[in-house]
């Protein structure tokens, strides 16, 4: 069978579905497991139609217990499977936290490399959709703090397709964060693996300010770059894609060129990825910086009720305000 290289226009959700479909087709050791992923196709329909095509052994509806979903994936990995676990919503990952950080992340190290944990954990994350409590969180920093895990966040259909396949193919465990507010965003998808999931992408080139982000805020950052251009400021927008490890060579090259740095994410500020990126780039590029780097982030609050979330989430204006700060305006 010749590989399908046709370009299609897909939503981000459909692109993940296509990537899962391809992974299930290519490797019989790939199994999906999670709550409601079968007949329903997941609450966001990301796994639509996969049960019908691959059957209940490959697409496993599980009882409602996150620790068990991850723990069962560990056992399957011990036996040589490549499990893809779905956590239904960001805020539901905490009951599975121990299995992720104490088992999934550490078993390769603990067994001196004898046991591999090629587990992908899919997590719809982020806010802006007017959801109930526990349905809009950005828990990625907890996992970037844990050695042994790889953490990626996708922002567009092409990456969604390419990186789910790379994540599943990886012999390391990968936390795969899906921006649920962008599930319906459409884009062109070529069925290829694309750039390595470790690489950051320059989504808009610029010369005055480096604006770093990932996941749901990438389109907002791009809008900010367009708005800033109207005011004569040239913004280089970088989509991190990989939150652990971070592609520092790409970021360093950009900061050395622009001399100014803004990092934006929905997650709370304290202990967030923005702080880590800024600290690292300050260490490596201090002499190139024209001004103190700035974070534009969610506040240090529990995720607020839906009618307040627009105040918590960084938007175009707050990002532009951050750009003004590093520009000294």
């Amino acid at each position: 069978m010749t590989p399908d290289t046709t370009t299609k226009t897909l939503t981000l959700a459909k692109a993940i579905n296509a990537g899962l479909h391809r992974a299930l087709t290519d490797d019989p050791r790939v199994v999906l497991l999670g709550e409601d992923i079968g007949a329903l196709g997941g609450v966001f329909r990301v796994t639509s139609d996969l049960l019908a095509e691959f059957g209940p052994r490959r697409v496993m509806d599980t009882p409602l217990a996150e620790s068990a979903i991850i723990g069962m994936a560990v056992g399957l990995a011990y036996r040589g499977y490549r499990p893809v676990a779905e956590i239904q919503f960001d805020g539901f990952i905490y009951p599975g936290f121990d299995q992720i950080v104490s088992q999934v992340a550490k078993l390769h190290y603990r067994t001196q490399g004898a046991v591999k944990m090629p587990i992908t954990i899919r997590v719809p994350f982020g806010g802006g959709i007017g959801a109930a409590e526990h349905h809009s969180e950005s828990p990625e920093a907890y996992f970037t703090h844990t050695s042994g895990l790889r953490v990626i966040a996708v922002s567009n259909p092409q990456d969604a397709y390419s990186l789910i396949r790379q994540a599943i193919a990886s012999d390391d465990p990968v936390l795969y964060f899906e921006p649920k507010g962008r599930y319906h965003a459409k884009g062109e998808v070529i069925p290829e693996l694309g750039a390595s999931m470790e690489r950051a992408t320059i989504v808009a080139p610029g010369t005055d300010v480096t604006l770093v982000t990932y996941g749901p805020l990438v389109p907002t950052a791009r809008d900010a770059a367009l708005a800033a251009a109207d005011e004569g400021v040239s913004i280089e927008v970088i989509d991190l894609r990989s939150l652990s490890p971070v592609d520092y060579p790409t970021l360093e090259a950009s900061v050395r060129k622009t001399g100014r740095l803004v990092v934006t994410h929905e997650a709370n500020r304290t202990g967030g990825i923005g702080g880590e990126v800024i600290a690292s780039l300050t260490e490596s590029c201090f002499n190139y910086l024209e001004s103190a780097p700035v974070r534009v982030t969610g506040f240090d609050i529990p995720y607020p009720a839906a009618k307040l979330e627009s105040h918590h989430l960084p938007d175009l204006d707050r990002i532009l305000d951050g750009i003004d700060t590093v520009m000294g305006r």
């Binding site: 599980t62 217990a65 991850i70 121990d98 490399g113 046991v115 591999k116 012999d171």
Partner: protein, 369 residues
């Protein structure tokens, strides 16, 4: 506080008398005299490993040791019942299981010497890395069992945990999942009566084995100090799993006669009389009495068994003491299966830092050395 109820199935009384049990007898009808004496040897040897490792800890050669004193029959009987292709997911006290699975003696203490987080290759011995997060491994057994079922083999996952772990969500979630997927899993609970200082009554107001049927999992409560009963119960459970009848839960009622670990002081929390009562139910003593009644406890057997125990202890001690410290830069090894740029940079920086000491040693006169 409700004590765990004494009712359990038994094939050898504490006095060493073989009694019949219609449910369990068929599972050990084929047991030979040679097997009985081999299990006796196993139990004597692992008790000696315990004594030697405790001594090594007291001498500063091990950072810590979790003794299994009193639990020899539960561990030897259950693991001797398994097949080589079954996969065992232990907790951290299953040193007799590691012995039965052929783990080199020094590797049994490697973790406790602080040389590695796990002493053996899990695939070489079909024995997972020890787990200190109590109960977490029960879920791994369910996943492995489901995988074995998908692969069309009749291998079984066996998981060990204590009475304390049965309070954890993971053990309960494992039972839900095992029942839902009819996973070939044997849940082997060693109820040794104490979770560090907490009595089993704080974990369970009725017998632990009674819980499993509520999950749809048949259970057995067996005298964990009776090696024959443990073998029979485990064989029964393994057979159910191999035939596609799903999980079984075994509660082996035993007693941790020593401390939780060498850092623990059980005299602070438990009654001496309780320990004395359990000493009368010693698993090795009762098998010795049975062998004696069968005319098998010959001076030759005793001498051979002691010689084996001495040999293993000497090998364990030599292996432990001569174990080289790991090389500094191996601290970075195997965090990831594929290179990680951030970590590689940390390794390079630390390597450069370490080598700066080497150069000061070799190039300066009177440098820091």
């Amino acid at each position: 506080m409700v004590e765990s109820s004494p009712e359990f199935v038994q094939l050898i009384t504490p006095e060493g008398e073989r009694i019949s049990n219609p449910e369990l007898d068929p599972w050990v009808a084929d047991v030979t005299d040679a097997q009985l004496t081999a299990w006796y040897e196993d139990m004597v040897v692992v008790r000696r490993i315990d004594t030697e490792a405790t001594a090594l800890q007291r001498q500063g050669e091990l950072g810590l040791w979790p003794p299994l004193l009193g639990q020899e029959a539960a561990q030897v009987g259950s693991s001797r019942a398994t097949r080589d292709d079954d996969f065992i997911f232990p907790s951290y006290r299953e040193n007799a299981v590691a012995y039965v699975r052929g783990v080199p003696f020094a590797d049994i203490v490697r973790v406790w010497r602080g040389n590695a987080q796990s002493g053996w290759d899990p695939y070489k011995h079909q024995l997972a890395a020890p787990n200190i997060i109590i109960g977490a491994q029960t879920l791994h057994a369910v996943g492995w069992g489901v995988g074995a079922k998908y692969d069309g083999v009749d291998s079984v996952a066996v998981t060990y945990f204590g009475d304390g772990a049965t309070s954890e969500g993971d053990v309960n979630e494992a039972m839900v999942f095992a029942a839902s997927f009819q996973a070939p899993v044997v849940f082997f609970c060693q109820n040794n009566h104490w979770a560090i200082s907490e009595p089993v009554g704080l974990q369970a107001v009725q017998s632990i084995a009674d819980r499993a049927p509520g999950f749809g999992i048949p259970s057995l409560r067996v005298d964990g100090n009776d090696v024959l009963a443990v073998v029979a119960a485990t064989r029964l459970a393994l057979d159910r799993a191999r035939r596609g009848d799903g999980p079984t839960f075994i509660e082996a009622v035993t007693y941790r006669m020593g401390p939780h670990t060498t850092a623990d002081d059980p005299t602070r929390y438990r009654d001496k009389a309780e320990l004395e009562a359990w000493k009368l139910r010693d698993p090795i003593l009762r098998l010795q009495r049975l062998l004696d009644s069968l005319g098998l406890l010959t001076p030759e057997l005793e001498a051979r068994t002691q010689a084996k125990a001495d040999e293993v202890a000497a090998e364990l001690r030599a292996g432990c003491i001569n174990m080289p410290d790991p090389e500094p830069l191996t601290v970075f090894d195997n965090v990831y299966a594929t290179p990680n740029a951030t970590l590689e940079k940390e390794r390079d920086q630390y390597a450069a830092y370490l080598s700066s000491f080497d150069s000061s040693n070799t190039t300066s006169n009177g440098g820091r050395s």
